[in-house]
Symmetry: C2
Amino acid sequence: MSVGRGKGERNRYNGIPLAVVKRLPSYQRLLSDLVAKEVERISSRELAAKMKINASQVRQDLSLFGSFGQQGYGYRVSYLLDEINKILGINTKTKMVLVGAGQLGRAITNYSNFAKRGFIIEALFDRDPEVIGKTVNGLSVKDLKELGTYLKAAPAEIGIICTPASAAQEITDQLVASGIKGIWNFAPTVVKVPETVCIEHVHLGESLMILSFQLKQKKAGLGMTK
Amino acid sequence: MSVGRGKGERNRYNGIPLAVVKRLPSYQRLLSDLVAKEVERISSRELAAKMKINASQVRQDLSLFGSFGQQGYGYRVSYLLDEINKILGINTKTKMVLVGAGQLGRAITNYSNFAKRGFIIEALFDRDPEVIGKTVNGLSVKDLKELGTYLKAAPAEIGIICTPASAAQEITDQLVASGIKGIWNFAPTVVKVPETVCIEHVHLGESLMILSFQLKQKKAGLGMTK
């Protein structure tokens, strides 16, 4: 209730708090589920219960992107999903290339949920002669040496890094030099990108450590460790 | 400088801000790198530069776990790493089981970085007859029906869920009923656990959507979209 910027002429994507950005994928997932169940509308209260936040927070979040709710009616689910998809760049085709076709790289390539949302891996690269030429999800793994030439002919937006940590920065630099605008990094290290490039790190190990920390805390709370 | 709780008798794991908890794995990774490079000590200023936070934040973070730094000397790297490892439950063996031995499940099983830190996957389960009996990283995939019996004989702390979203809650309930205390969920859905159980969700798709959002924002900023 407190914000309400409306649908002004100014850029609606700027100045959105990071906490709200981080909730958008959850809204997207919940609304997709509702559409699949043919639910037509939902109140901010119901949406809030599913999001585990309060209703005024939901209204405030969504008002940042324009006011989609109607008093006493709630939100039209499919319209709201469409708007959130637009905001997140879902359902418009986003081309991606992946470097490092080991087990994790292959798992990501085969994971159909990304493709369903329009995120398409168009080519895989590796430098291991044993891996080059193998087929993963219909794609033949290319030699890393061809990366620059390939991207010149077939530009992509996102580069996925599934290499060991030691190779991650070098590959990132190559991808950025070839015009990639977003890096999705699965290598267990932090890579640096210029300001014009976006980056998202997925540190699987960090998530496991945080789980382990919580377990230790719970045990300590039960008096099982000092 | 502002906090400084010292090494009192009270439980040092409670009341730690979530933001600090989330930084601990980064400290762990940076300090591991330094130990590997045989660096003996580091100032809060140097550590802060690597963490991309300021030095007083570093001192405040670490003071929450006891005061490890010395004025004019800095932190002893190996001692600090040991302490953070203890806090995170690293290097003590943590037993895990994984359910859903598809491509992602197999990638996680083969990912050696977890085992290096003491997180050991001891058994894999699946319900697909095509998958049961296959060998992954030296482990033969067991029938999901055996899960309860297995965990009775060989208790584990963490259950890793790599099933489709539709099976995730059912498997979580089974794991919890069999004494699992932590759930590491890779299924693209939210699962519920009782208060006595810890959970950490890894939503790969959400991370990709946030990257996509950033890309759209950058484009908008450059005037490439409305």
